[in-house]
């Protein structure tokens, strides 16, 4: 299975500001002077040596993740990251019809606002299907494109499949299980299995009761997965302050992942108020938490950023 992250921000799209960009450039230049850079040939190694929050941005587009498995293209959520994925799909297709399967966790704005800008939907030759356990998904998405809010209606190209949340379904040879999460208005997690590999997408969920028994239904669903993509929007403290906002934090994710024997834990749905430095600091603290509390557990931690891709 191949996975690529197109949108990793939660709540609202968050472009890098000019001030943030200037700070990155200024810091890089100062570090370059300190490192004694004198020639172009030194630049690649120097860039590689820079702290991640200086040479990279996690990105500002909202939730959208692509999975390729068994010859199928699965898209998890349709936040603003969907726009660039759509352009890439057209480029990749070489003019041939595009087939894509869009699995929706829920219909909050940060998970649907890329749909009006998904260019493959402008061609009726493409085969684009939405999946969700929610009733009336088509009507929900159509309301987003009422003329009061957007100049064009929802594309008639889209097909809609309502899922039974208690039943596994298949897209080609890819098996998909569904599990409800704790989020205002509801949200669903997807466990995607192809061959002997699994990826779980579990964003927009809050875990207020953390006893072993309380989290067991979730850790059972997450059990043994190769990759768990986990909502870690807040810090531990902010998570308690923002009770019932429906999100989680890295420490809770780590403990649940370890209980569930997860191999890779990817943090996603980043808080719009957190800049790159803060997000990478949170990742470092998360790694230290694992080192302190679970030094012998081989859990790999990753911070999702736009363009992160890998093959499992």
């Amino acid at each position: 299975m191949y996975i690529r992250f197109w949108g990793v921000r939660g709540s609202i799209a968050t472009p890098l500001t000019n001030v943030e960009l200037e700070v990155k450039i200024e810091t890089a230049v100062k570090l370059g002077i300190k490192a004694g850079i004198t020639g172009d040939s030194q630049v690649p190694d120097f860039l590689e040596s820079l702290p991640l929050h200086i040479r990279r941005t996690v990105g500002g587009d909202t939730a959208c993740v692509e999975i390729q498995a068994g010859g199928k293209i699965l898209i998890l959520d349709a936040g603003t990251g969907l726009r660039r994925l759509g352009l890439d799909l057209i480029k990749r297709s070489g003019g041939n019809p595009i087939e894509a399967h869009i699995l929706m966790t829920h219909t909050h704005w940060d998970h649907i606002s890329g749909i009006p800008f998904f260019v493959p939907a402008f061609s009726s030759e493409n085969n684009l299907t939405f999946y969700s356990p929610f009733p009336g998904l088509k009507e929900r998405l159509a309301r987003q494109q009422n003329s009061e809010y957007f100049p064009a209606p929802l594309s008639p190209t889209f097909r809609f499949v309502r899922l039974n949340e208690h039943k596994q379904f298949q897209i080609g040879d890819v098996k998909i299980d569904i599990f409800p999460l704790n989020h205002p208005g509801g949200s669903y997690s997807y466990r995607i299995t192809y061959g002997n590999k699994t990826i779980i997408y579990a964003t927009d969920s809050e875990y207020k009761e953390l006893s072993t028994n309380s989290v067991k239904p979730f850790t059972d669903f997450f059990h043994g997965t190769d990759m768990l993509i986990f909502d870690a929007q807040y810090t531990m403290l902010e998570n308690v302050e923002k009770e019932d906002w429906g999100h989680s934090n890295v420490f809770t994710g780590i403990d649940m992942a370890i209980e569930a024997k997860v191999k890779k834990l990817v943090f996603i749905h980043h808080e719009p108020g957190y800049n790159d430095e803060k997000l990478y600091t949170i990742l470092l603290k998360a790694k230290e938490y694992v080192d302190i509390n679970h030094p012998k557990v081989p859990l790999e931690l990753l911070l999702a950023y736009e363009g992160l891709c890998m093959t499992l």
Partner: protein, 113 residues
């Protein structure tokens, strides 16, 4: 987990022993909530013999301290953290919102200042 209580000058000093995690956090929360219901609002949590704290333990500490401050004009003081637990308090940010003391006596006396 072993939980023991001593009361001195209206301060409930609770001494924990063992791992403060998803298997034990409910018991600690329940124990303290019962004391709150009986009218106690000033607590010292002595963690000298706690060698491990997980997110479940951290969450109980935060919500109890917040409830005591917001609803009971009280507080939860932390006393005697082992180095690894102290570091978990630091990386989770709890050291920024809680009063942490090196010994139980100072943590208890701090309520009368």
């Amino acid at each position: 987990m072993k939980i023991e209580e001593n009361i001195l000058n209206d301060v409930s000093s609770i001494k924990l022993e063992g791992r403060f995690d998803a298997n034990t956090s409910d018991a600690v929360e329940k124990f303290i909530r019962e004391k709150i219901e009986k009218g106690c609002s000033q607590f010292v949590l002595n963690m000298e013999n706690v060698s491990f704290i997980s997110s479940a333990g951290l969450r109980v500490v935060i919500i109890i301290a917040r409830e005591l401050r917001n609803e009971h004009q009280g507080d939860l003081h932390i006393a005697v953290l082992q180095p690894s637990v102290k570091r978990v308090f630091e990386i989770s940010g709890l050291n920024n919102i809680l009063k942490i003391f090196d010994d139980e006596q100072t943590a208890t006396e701090a309520f009368s200042k």
